[in-house]
């Protein structure tokens, strides 16, 4: 194992865990006797999280007609799992330094891109007929978390990688493999394990470049994969990649989208994106 990989692996093991409010909420959700009030009490202990959850719940992202003015109502309308996912998203956004800017990569622009992937992943999941799209928004937001980790923990090697990818018209993954010896999807998967995120989420982070898990298209990974390509096309933020990737043709079989499912959502997605980046203070 080269020294850069050793350094990265050590830093992942020692990296911040998800906040106490998340672990306590997970415990409450696992207890069948818990009520909405129990979960609301746990969340209310973190007022910063409460404010952001209410802002997101009232944004057009969820299209709720009723005003969400307290945590109980947010849980009732969005569900336990989605509220928990919002706490994860907010926590992870706060874990990373936004100052590691270089010529090719800006963390704030990358978060904007990631929010775009989250919004579009959720849209695609719904278009694909997935009954419960709770995990789609969060998975989209953290799909490329490995890039941010590299920017923060191996900035010199990451800059070399970006330069190499630009100069040679390569994807970042290919350049990372050549320069660092690993790539951001593997690092993302390790972070997902570190945070004990659900397996489908971890698989999607590892496999979003193809949308395939164990050589088979999988709906969450496929949705994030297509969302990634659409977000590049719509130029939301900046992913650190120069080219718009061609979606893997195999994912269309599992997504079974209607004609116009992407094109017709242009304005809706744009409006949701603009609201979301404001809610997340980006």
């Amino acid at each position: 194992m080269n020294t850069v990989i050793q350094h990265i692996t050590k830093n992942i093991r020692e990296f911040k865990t998800l906040p106490t409010v998340y672990t306590r909420l997970t415990e409450v959700m696992a207890d069948s006797r818990s009520t909405i009030q129990d979960a609301a009490d746990v969340i209310s202990s973190d007022q910063a999280a409460v404010t952001k959850i209410l802002n997101v719940a009232n944004s057009p992202l969820y299209g709720l007609s009723a005003r969400v003015d307290n945590v109980n109502k947010a849980i009732f309308l969005l569900g336990f799992n989605e509220v928990k996912n919002l706490i994860i998203a907010i926590s992870i956004l706060d874990m990373f330094d936004r100052k590691n800017v270089n010529t090719y990569f800006n963390p704030v622009e990358f978060w904007k891109f990631s929010i775009g992937v989250g919004i579009i992943s959720r849209h695609i999941g719904k278009e694909a007929g997935v009954a419960n799209v709770d995990n789609f928004f969060l998975t989209g937001i953290i799909h490329g978390i490995g890039k941010l980790f590299l920017a923060q923990h191996a900035p010199t090697e990451f800059l070399k990688t970006l330069e190499f990818a630009y100069d040679n018209e390569l994807s970042l993954r290919e350049a990372e493999r050549k320069i660092i010896g690993t790539n951001h999807t593997i690092i993302g998967e390790l972070l997902a394990e570190h945070w004990k995120l659900p397996v489908p989420m971890k698989n999607a982070i590892r496999n979003y470049p193809t949308g395939m898990v164990n050589q088979v298209p999988e709906v969450l990974a496929a949705s994030v994969h297509v969302a990634y390509c659409v977000t590049q096309a719509m130029e939301f933020g900046n992913s650190g990649e120069r080219i718009i990737e061609k979606p893997n043709p195999l994912v269309w079989q599992i997504l079974k989208l209607r004609t116009g499912a992407l094109r017709d959502s242009f304005e809706d997605i744009t409006a949701k994106y603009e609201q979301a980046i404001s809610v997340f203070s980006l």
Binding site: P60, M234, I243, L257, D268, T270
Partner: protein
């Protein structure tokens, strides 16, 4: 300027032009709410038969693209889309990339 449509014709993502009020003046749905097909049934129970939604063709984000802009966008895309659209969704993706670039160029020349 919005357009009036029947509740049955609501599709996901349509944006409400004005708030919808009940007979007591209470807001059922606020202006700029993002509509979903499920709203159709809800509105009907309130006796609402038509709604005014934002007309996409009147939107600022919908821009007229002349030949010069079209060629410029295609030239720019040639360097970042290194594949030829074949599948219908690849065409949709390409159209979205085209629309994004064209809108940015047209709006920047207007300013």
């Amino acid at each position: 300027m919005g357009k009036t449509i029947l509740c049955e014709d609501i599709t996901d993502g349509m944006i409400l032009e004005h708030p919808i009020l009940n007979k007591f003046g209470q807001t059922i749905l606020p202006g700029n709410a993002s509509l979903q097909t499920k709203h159709a049934g809800l509105l009907k129970t309130w006796g609402v038969r038509t709604v005014v939604v934002k007309d996409e063709t009147q939107n600022e984000t919908s821009v007229e693209v002349n030949e010069e802009v079209r060629l410029l966008v295609l030239e720019q895309l040639r360097h970042i889309v290194l594949w030829k659209p074949e599948h219908e969704f690849e065409h949709e993706l390409f159209q979205m990339a085209f629309r994004t670039r064209a809108r940015a160029i047209v709006l920047s020349t207007k300013r």
